[in-house]
Assembly symmetry: none
Homo-oligomer: 222 residues x 4
């Protein structure tokens, strides 16, 4: 997300872009922390240490900012996902990398266990249709990434022959929640107290579940 400004520019761009980037970063962080609605322009300005009016030198509106933020995030994430997809790793490793990608995303912003994605699903976001579509695209992107991963894996024999659409959905959900529950909710202990430690071992366990399911011992083990 640091490179945001080098990748995308709205119509309002000014000289250096450093302040524009500052606003983007501040806004993104606050949206993660407090949500879109509760983040006031004033908050963004204060956080970026600029005047309220300055915001509007760089962005047409709060809505426009969100739009751009989503565009950027989608573009950026898409690139990362493409890189993972085209790597030479096994399907399993690619999925693990996706998980780490999600996790870094989450850790980078805000102390709350809140995913922008989750928030985006909120219909409170449906201020304009443009944003609605972007949010949709955001999910679709991740879903399609996993889907293509599965299809490729199936083709290569690394993945059991499953419905890739269903599989991608399950994977996305499992990974999203697993990621989300790692961060402690603000002021409340996490979903489970145990979640704060042993992350390495727990991650292994998580992947084992993803790949082998929770089902009873396989016939082979008998």
């Amino acid at each position: 997300m640091q490179a945001i400004c080098n990748k995308f520019r709205g119509k309002n761009q000014k000289g250096s872009g450093s302040k524009r980037e500052l606003i983007l970063t501040s806004a993104f962080e606050l949206f993660y922390q407090k949500g879109y609605q509760k983040t006031k322009i004033q908050d963004i300005a204060r956080h970026a240490d600029i005047g309220k009016g300055t915001f509007y030198e760089y962005f047409q509106s709060k809505d426009t900012l969100l739009e751009e933020l989503l565009h950027l995030k989608i573009k950026e994430d898409q690139e990362t996902l493409d890189m993972i997809r085209s790597s030479l790793d096994t399907t399993e490793d690619k999925i693990i990398r996706f998980y780490h990608f999600e996790r870094e995303n989450m850790e980078e912003y805000g102390p709350r266990s809140n995913v922008l994605a989750q928030e985006m699903m909120s219909t409170d976001f449906s201020i304009n249709h443009e944003v609605q579509g972007l949010i949709h695209r955001f999910f679709q992107m991740k879903h399609q990434f996993l889907q293509s991963l599965l299809e490729d894996g199936i083709h290569r024999g690394e993945i059991r022959n499953t419905d890739s659409v269903v599989g991608a959905t399950a994977l996305l959900g499992a990974i999203s929640f697993y990621t989300m529950f790692q961060l402690p909710a603000q002021g409340h202990s996490g979903i489970s107290p145990d979640f704060q430690e042993n992350s390495m071992a727990r991650d292994s366990e998580f992947f084992r579940i993803l790949f082998s399911g929770i089902g009873g011992v396989s016939d082979a083990e008998k």
Copy 2:
């Protein structure tokens, strides 16, 4: 949700309770459909066919209403989950029943692919700390349900010996997303066009993935 009022009463309860129940139901439905922020008191009043002032005869504030709604929902869901848990079904069937429970929840309200749960995660909800806690409890409840299901299943040998915390998280995420993506997003085709048909077959596939994972063919199959 129809039975909400018979199960729980806030401090404000008045005589009949029927109007109170009407408000609760209306609010719940609208929150599902449009989100908390975008649902105005006026909307609730209109939907319940009462005056705006009447709302405040039964609830101290919009926040209070949400609090109570969550309390009720938690209580109600808790009861349902307890019933499932104490049934004589196999662990697998219990999980399937949980999925159907989630799905009914989703289908009952609103045309949008919006889960109150998802929305609740949104920090836009965090108007007061009380609500924050409730939202947390809401997730924790489902998580703990699945966790105990897993532990019980492991004990009974129906479930592979897994970390129940991690497993419950993965299950909850997978089921939540799978449920969520079944409903078409407003104005946008669902996450995948294929998702609109063959629900029976797809569900089977989904559960197969949950139980057997996506991993390659087991040794036994060789």
Copy 3:
């Protein structure tokens, strides 16, 4: 203008209409006195002795209010003009009545020598196209009234055979300015100090000019 509320109702109308009328009257008065732009919603609210929010109970926006005000004014004026036109008076008397109508209009509102009409011509008004059109209609109405008066007068032999379009324009301008300059500008003496007295005699002189022009003695007088 007093009867405004009985003649026209926007979509927002509430019960009695008396408060709505109060707002309309207050706004109309303030627009006359201070102009549209300089009149703040707060001003209207204070003048009508209501809360700022109350304004929006009765009108969708400041723009909408202006629109309605123009609609009303046009409707009302149109009726008055129709009444004058269809009366049995001579054309000359009808024109005199039109002058008095304009003058009453002016005296009714505000201490300033400002005509809503003049103000309306200001492109500052061009907030939306709807309003633009209304302002245009406003002038057109008066112009057409005078035009039809002239045509009728010519037909009846009371008026010299003139181009009615040109004649109506000249009449409208002369009457508007003559009316306008009667009221002292705020803080400045009127256009001419003499304008404050002898209004009867001056009016006669004005009409003599309208009917006989300023040209030299007619041949008949020689």
Copy 4:
């Protein structure tokens, strides 16, 4: 208006004056086209092809600019009017020349049927008292010009013996409106569709009305 800067200098004058003049011209043009309120400092700067800050090198404020613009316009117009007044033409010709002067004024700026004068009457202009007075003086100047023309004409026997104050008012109004209605309103057909053609013949008719009035046939014609 091109000669504006050579004729008048405010307190802020700097070296060359050419940039100052540029700003004045740009501002004047834009005020005519869009109105004072809707013309932003940014617009003026862009139109004059200078930086926004540069504006403030030459003028203390937007208000000050308007003040000066009015001062200049008054001075310039005054000179033109003095020239007309002191010419050897007949009174009738002088009035015709005044009309053409007004008309050129109008045609020179902007496509809108908007007279700065009209706009000036708008109290939206009354940002400070100084400006109010200037606007008043602006009208008074034209009024006095016509008044002195009439008095002179009466003295010379070219004009019927009329009240010169009233006569000047009627003339100013008639000429102003006749001028104004020649230009089509933005987006709306002019006050009358016929107004777009035959300007020569129409002008003659207009002056005939001014000089002979609209009254019935004179006795002599009988």
